[in-house]
Symmetry: D3
Subunit: 173 residues, 6 copies
C-alpha cells in the first residue's frame, strides 16, 4: 500500500519573535544560540504538522550567520518540510530580520533541520511522503538527497564513495 | 612579527546544566534547540577566553542528536578552541549527560562552532594562533582545515575542486 | 495634504508558540496571562509594521477565554491593524490552538488591542490611515468606531449619550 | 441551604514586581503584555483564596494603560474578589508603580478579571458569595452587576435590551 | 545634625509568587535557590523603600529550609528593615506557603539579608535610622546587633573576643 | 558494616554562566539572588554526584558579597562535598568572575550549602562518607564540624554550651 502524500505547504509554519535584551550579546546583536533555539521550535512544529506525530530533532546541517540581527528587530522564521524518508523529515527554515522604524528587511540565513517521528514510547514511525508542487518545492526536494548523503557521511554512517548524489557537487565522475 | 600562540587548554570551559521541565518536549526529552543554545554560550565563552575579545557566532557545523537526554539529567558541556584562522576560531564542544540516581553517563554528541573576534564597532580583529600540545589537540587541529573547507564550500565561498584537504575524505586523488 | 493609506494585509503578522510546562496551570491548561502576553507582542509588531514607529499599548478590549488550550498544543496568533485614528491603531488578534497528534484545531478567541505610535521622546505621532480591501476588512473597519466609543466611555472620556455608533448595539434611537 | 459568605479582604493579595530589562520595550517602558501577565497571576491567586479551588481565567474587562511604567520601577498589584456569581468570581486589580529613588508613586491603572472555579476534571463548581464590608466593597459589589451585563453582551450571550443595570450608564429609561 | 528616622512598617513589602514547574526539583518541591532569588528581590525592594537609594546585597545570614514547598503552592514573602547602620540595612524576610485547595498555610522560614545603599557611582551613602515601634520591632532591632557581630566575625572583620553582644548566646561572661 | 567512602573530587562540579541583562540591577551588577540561585544548582548537582540520590537544600551558611560582578562577565562556580553526616552533606562553592576583554579575574566569594539525600517519598537516606585526600580537603573537612555546630545553634537545635568545636573560634576554654 503506497504511503500517503502531503504538499510542503501543508507543513508551512511562520513564527515571529521580537529581539529582547536577554537575547543579545554586548554588541546588542542577537546571539546565535537563541536563533537556533527558535529555529528548532519552528521546524519541530512544521515536522509535527506534516506527520501528526511527536518528533525529535535528529540533526542540524551547517548554518552560517552572516548578518547580525539587532536588539528590537522583528525576526520572522518560515519553515516547511522539504522531503520525508521513512520516519525522518528534512525541514528548511528561512530567517528574515526587520528593523521596523526604517522598514529595512534583511535575509538573515536559512537552515536545514532533520526530525524523526516517534510513537509514545519513542520508537520511529513512518510519515507521509512529500509531493513537491512548485519549482522551489522541487529544487528543495531534489537537493534533500544530496544533503542527506552529506549528513550520513559526516555521522560516519555512509562511505563517501557511495554518495553518488553528493559527488556531483565535487564535479567528479 | 609572528602572532602570539596559546594552547587549547587555555580556552577550556566546562558548563553544567540541569534539565528542567521547560527544556523538554512531551516525551520529557531535552529539546535540541535548548541544547544548541547552551552549546553556543559555552563555546562563545571559550572563544572569548582565547581571544580576549567580543566574539560573534559565524557558523555551526552539522550536529547529530543520537541519544535522548532526560528531564532531571545533568548535562556537562566542555569546550575548547581547536584552531584559529586570522580573526576566526573553531571551537569543539563535547556534551555528556548523566542520570545521577543510577550514575549512568551518556556521551551525547559533539559539535564545532566557529566564532569571529570583533572590536567595539563590530569589525573583525586578529586573534592568537593555536599551539596544539597533546595528540588529541593535534587531531582536532589537523581536522580543522578539512572542516573549514567544507564550511566554505557549503557557504558558496570555495570551489569544491579547490578543497584539497576535504577531498581526502572522499578517498579521491 | 492627505495622510498615506495602507492595507490591513500590510500589517499582517502570524506568530506561533508551543505551550510549555511553565505556561500552564495545575490542570495543564495555558494560563490566560501568558496568552495575553503573546497577544500583546504579536499586535505590537503589527502596529509597528503599519506605522513604522515605536508603539505603546494604550488599551485592551474585553477578552473571553472560552476554550482551554492544552500543554503541548501549538498556538497560532494572527494580527492585523483594522483602523487608525490619528496616532492610535486598533489591532485585531485571532487565536487558534492545534493539537498536532489529532490535527484538531480550535478557534480559541479573538481580541482587540489599541496602540499609540510615539517618537523617540515618547510623544504621539500620526500614522497612515487604513484602506479596507476585503469584506472582512470593511466589517472590522466599520466596527472599530463602535468599539472606540465603548473604550472612551469606559475610560470616562466620552459621555454615553454622545456615543451614536455604540447606541446601535442597544437597538436604541 | 444558603451558600457560605466571605469578605473581600479574605481574598486580598498583594504582589510586588521589579521591572527588569526583558520586561521593557525600546523606550525602557514596561510592556503591556507583561503587566497583564502579572495581573492574571495575582487575580488568579485571589480567586483561589476566595474559592479554595483551582480557577481558570474566564474573561478580562477593557483595560487602559495611561501612565508608562519605567525600567527599575517597583510595581505593586493588589487584588481582591468583588463579587461571586455561582461558579464565577470578579476580581479587581489595582496597579501602582513607584520610582524608589524619588519616592514618586503613580497609580497606573485598575482592571477586572473574571475566573471560574473548577474541580479536578475541569467542571465548574459553586463558590462562596461575597459579603461587602466597607463602602468601597459595596461600590465594587454593586458595579459588578453592570460590568457582568456588559461582558455577556460583548460575548453575545445577552441581548442589549435585557441589560437593565447597564442601561443606566447610558442614562436611558 | 541627627539622621532622619523611619519606622520598620515604612519599608514593609509583601510579595506573592506561584510555584511553577520550572521552580521545582524532581520531587515537585520548590528549589531553595529559587526561593533565595525571591527573598533577595523582596528584601532589596524593602531596603530601597527605607533608603530611597539603589542598594546592593552585602550578605545573607544562615538560612534553614525545613518545610518543603509544593508545586502549585502560593508563596508569600514579607520583608521589612529591622535596623540600619550608617550605609547598611538589615532586612528580615518571613516566608509562608499556602496550599490553596486545602487552605493549609505553612510557615516556611525566615531570613536576614543585609544591603548597602550606594550612589550612582556605587559608593556607600548614609541611610535613615530605624525607630522601632512595636514589641516585635524592638526584638528584631535589638537582635540585629548580635547578628551583625556574627556576620563580622564570619567575614573575618571582627575578633570573636570583641563580640560582646554575641557572647550572650553562648551564655558566657 | 562500614559506610562507603568517596573523595571530594568525585563530587566536583564546575559551572559557567554569562551575566545577562536580566540578571543585573540598575548599576549593571549581578544581583545577589541570581548568584545564590546558581550556587544552589551547582551545589545540588555536587551533592547528587556524591550520593547518587535526589537531594533537597537543607540550609545555607552566611554569605558575603564583597566584589560586584559586572554585566557581560563570565562567572565560574566550583562545588565539591566537604563532609557528610548520615543523610546530610556540606558542599563548598567557590565563585570567580572574569572580565574577558581585560582577562581580569576576581575571586568573588565562597559559600557552604547543606543538602539532605532523600528517597522517592522524600525520606532522608544515608550517604557515603567523605575521605579527604589533599591538605585543602582536610581543612574543609575539619572545619565542617564547627560550621555544623553553628548551624544547629542558629536553628535552635543545639545548646551553645555544647558546641565544643565552635567555642574554639571564640578562644574560650
Amino acid at each position: 500500500m503506497p504511503r500517503k502524500k502531503k504538499f510542503p505547504r501543508e507543513s508551512f509554519v511562520s513564527m515571529t519573535e521580537l529581539v529582547l535584551p536577554n537575547d543579545t550579546n554586548t554588541l546588542n546583536n542577537l546571539m546565535g544560540g537563541r536563533l537556533m533555539h527558535w529555529m528548532d521550535i519552528v521546524s519541530a512544529i512544521s515536522a509535527q504538522k506534516h506527520s501528526n506525530r511527536i518528533v525529535v530533532t535528529a540533526s542540524v546541517d551547517n548554518i552560517s550567520f552572516n548578518h547580525p540581527i539587532q536588539l528590537g528587530n522583528v525576526v520572522t522564521l518560515k519553515a516547511r518540510v522539504t522531503r520525508a524518508f521513512n520516519s525522518s523529515m528534512e525541514v528548511r527554515i528561512d530567517v528574515e530580520a526587520e528593523d521596523i522604524p526604517t522598514g529595512k528587511k534583511t535575509v538573515s540565513n536559512s537552515a536545514y533541520f532533520t526530525f524523526v517521528a516517534v510513537d509514545q514510547s519513542g520508537r520511529p514511525i513512518d510519515v507521509p511522503e512529500i509531493e513537491p508542487e512548485t519549482d522551489e518545492d522541487r529544487e528543495y526536494y531534489n537537493g534533500a538527497l544530496r544533503r542527506r548523503q552529506l549528513r550520513l557521511i559526516l555521522a560516519g554512517r555512509m562511505k563517501p564513495q557511495d554518495a553518488h548524489e553528493l559527488k556531483s557537487i565535487f564535479n567528479i565522475e
